[in-house]
Symmetry: C2
Subunit: 134 residues, 2 copies
DNA sequence: ACGCTTATTGATAATGATTGTCAAAACCAT
DNA sequence: ATGGTTTTGACAATCATTATCAATAAGCGT
């Protein structure tokens, strides 16, 4: 049976209090900074579990780091992520789901899954960076 | 100025001769097996360059490994990848392109790019794995 | 063909994220 | 409260990737 520990709860809360995706390392640092003595391996395990149960979403950053996020939407969904500040918008993509299934089936593929993420600059960062460039 | 070496050409040819996405490590092993004394660091550099110039496509595998492929299509496209054998089908995704642009704009995001990959089991691997499971 | 300049190579070390180990600590059903 | 079982965490191990840097070899002008 699965047991409840303050460590798991701490990870869950830290993730809830984070706006956007965050890495295991960064979340561990954040927890340490708040005085928590939680171990790094435990943070990795907790995040992995949360991702498995669907309580958190995970994705690979462009440079190959695993990032996690506590999502408000429970079902399957995708993300629009600001590559500057990390701000994230959850998006529905019914047409993409249908497209992925269809294209996989058309080529005889089974057990299809898909990675669909949109990266861009949020409105705020767009103006910020435009100002800097001047 | 950029120089031409047999190492770069060897990597290009090895990639051309590969069906599907492959990692730098695997490509290096493959080259070694064919008797090439090329260094691992050089393979990494060559693949990085090919990806930069657009001669090769790269993506992050679900477990965070960078994979490369010499693509037949030159323009923007996406991939349907067998997670067992690496076999890859290039796919058009016009509706997904449009969707990504629209959803980004709707939320005020600019400079939108997207990561769209479909992973599954190709027809061959589907029957292979079904047999093994028995 | 011959040097010369300098980009490139490759053996190796370094880095950094992630996972494995395993004894000690914590849960929780009884 | 007790005991069996799960979880933790310090640490080592792994694995991909990048940094070093002396040795090599393009390619240009001669
Ligand atoms: Mn989400
Ligand atoms: Mn392609
Ligand atoms: Zn932003
Ligand atoms: Zn396959």
């Amino acid at each position: 049976m699965k047991r409840n520990t303050w460590q798991r709860e701490a990870v869950r809360e830290a993730l809830d209090g984070t706006d956007g995706f965050i890495s295991a390392q960064a979340l561990h640092s954040s927890l340490h900074a708040s005085g928590s003595p939680i171990g790094l391996a435990t943070v990795y395990r907790a995040l992995g579990d949360l991702a498995t149960t669907g309580e958190a979403d995970s994705l690979q950053s462009p440079d190959g780091e695993a990032l996690y996020r506590a999502c408000s939407t429970t079902g399957h969904h995708h993300h629009l992520i600001c590559r500057n500040c990390g701000r994230t918008v959850e998006i529905e993509a019914d047409e993409v789901e249908a497209w992925a299934q269809r294209v996989a089936a058309e080529h005889g593929f089974t057990r299809a899954a898909h990675v669909v993420d949109v990266f861009g600059l949020c409105a705020d960062c767009t103006v910020l960076l435009a100002a800097e460039a001047r």
